[in-house]
Amino acid sequence: MSGTTGEQAINGTVENRGVNGGGRAGIRDRVGLLSKLMIAPAVFYVAAMIGFPFILALLYSMSDVTTGDPALHLVGLRNFRAILDDPVFLLSMKNTFFFAIVSQVLVILLSRVIATALMKEFRGKWLARFLIMLPWTAPISLGTIGWLWMLDSIFSPFDWVLRYAGLLGAPGALLGPDLNLYWLGVPALAMASVVLVHVWRILPLATVIQLAGLSSIPRDLLEAAEVDGATPWRRTLEITIPLTLPIISIAFLFGLVFTFTDVTVVYVLTRGGPIHSTQVLSTWTFFKGIEGGDLAQGAAISLFLFPVLAGIAALMLRMARKSEVV
């Protein structure tokens, strides 16, 4: 809507100047005022939906507010001290980093492979593209529920396949004599499952970003390298990767923010279990602050993410600027 207004303003300016020759100017001619008006909704949005909750979180984290007693009394840094003494918090912190970094490294590697494949022409390319993009179009919760069934402790199709292949559920089988692996019931497997679902989830976005990066490399650069005697391997290492590094970093940081802040996957799959082995800061915030009712501590936990995310955001902006130069 603001676009339409802008166009009218421009046309209006031209018309008015043409006809009136600098006569009485309406609001449509006052560029200064107009630009302020047009940016106002954005400023309002940032202030009301981001600034206000952020300040509220700061206040809460230094108070004793709970869902049962919403009255606000400031108590200093007591909440932060309590959190730092909590082993679950420390474990969640560790898990958050592990899970975000491992999943995003996998995402970058896989999306690179897929993007490279999609740069080529082949039959059924549209179908491949469509299938790769599909996870991105599904709501996170629905997709994750699908995975919950796939990873079911008794009916998991993965287990069927493994049993059928003789790798599971027979005496002397590679993965043990039990009939099931209990994907979400064993700490290491549960973490692997959470990572897997997140990779599945972020891969489409990263692939699209990498595709954009790859197609932005001028073709004659790669041809020049070919004429200069570079093997495909060297072209990748010395031309393609350095030239797409800024955009790869953006994909990586973007995915990092997504995984750092995501509650859904862990909440739906494991609820942080077993024994907090997949607990991350975002879910721990939710369990403590909302389900446990201790809003103050919940706010304090969530604020621990803030410096990390702010740092990533700053890096992303720098990378975005850098990628423009090339």
């Binding site: 001028p218 041809e223 070919e226 004429v227 200069d228 570079a230 090339v326």
Partner: protein, 343 residues
Amino acid sequence: MARVEIRGVSKTFGEVRAVDHVDLETVEGEFLVLLGPSGCGKTTLLRMVAGIEEPTAGDILIDEKIVTNQPPRMRNIAMVFQSYALYPHMSVYRNIAFPLRTRGVDKASIRKKVEWAAGMFGIGRLLDRKPRELSGGERQRVALARAMVREPSVFLLDEPLSNLDALLRASAREELRQFQKRVGVTTIYVTHDQVEAMGLGDRIVVMSKGKIRQVGTPMEIYHWPADTFVATFVGSPPMNLLGEDDILTGFRPETFLPADLVYGTEGIVTYPFEVTWMEYLGAERLLYGNVGEKSHARHVVSRLPGSVNLPIEAGKTYPFAVSRNDLRFFDRKNGLRTDRGPA
């Protein structure tokens, strides 16, 4: 130094025949120019010699060895691209060193050769810069240095001067020519600019619609065009063509002069020239107008040197003439040049 031979090469992109059964052979050490309008297939032909495009049919030989299916790195060629294609993330030094590093040359030799190549093109002081910090002319020199540093057996250039401004282009043309003579490497040069082609080429290959129309020295191309396409594509303004029955009569604008200035061992042909428009260009005057009445194509141009200061006005008719030695005849049906004049 090497010889390039192109044997019956065709290239189709889908339905489009970009290069249509082309045969061509270079002489060792010559400067061969591929000239033609855009879309005539000259760049595609060059890219096939380089190995970044594979022919649909035919063979390419370098030094009598078939290289048609070999990747570029096995052909020992160098190519300068129209955009220069410098690696933006590498310094000038690393750009020039790149083709040596891919060949596994040791560091000390690389340094020596890069400095030699940079010295040859006068860019020694730019070695630490990035391409984006260079001017157009400097970029072009870096591209040339990167091409020459490997001492290639064939040197391919795809319109390397078209991104330079006019003044720089003239001096770059001269430098390029002198450099090629000094190194003596077989060079194939693609351009759509006839001035470049005439000035640079030992021989010119005129192409149109994927086919070769004529191969010859600049003088042959200009004075003895093989067909009406070459006659009108080369030369500015193009050759005048007068239609008389089945035969077209052609003559260059500078041979069409006021009748008393024209001599010819075989006599002259005089036309009443009705001048309709005149351009004064300093060194010369261009006169546009018509001759005769019965012919279909009767529009001609005369190019008067500045030294001829005869008063001429638009709207009037003057006796103009061409020496018979300067007349060329073309078959109207297929456009080819014939020896036979109009009946």
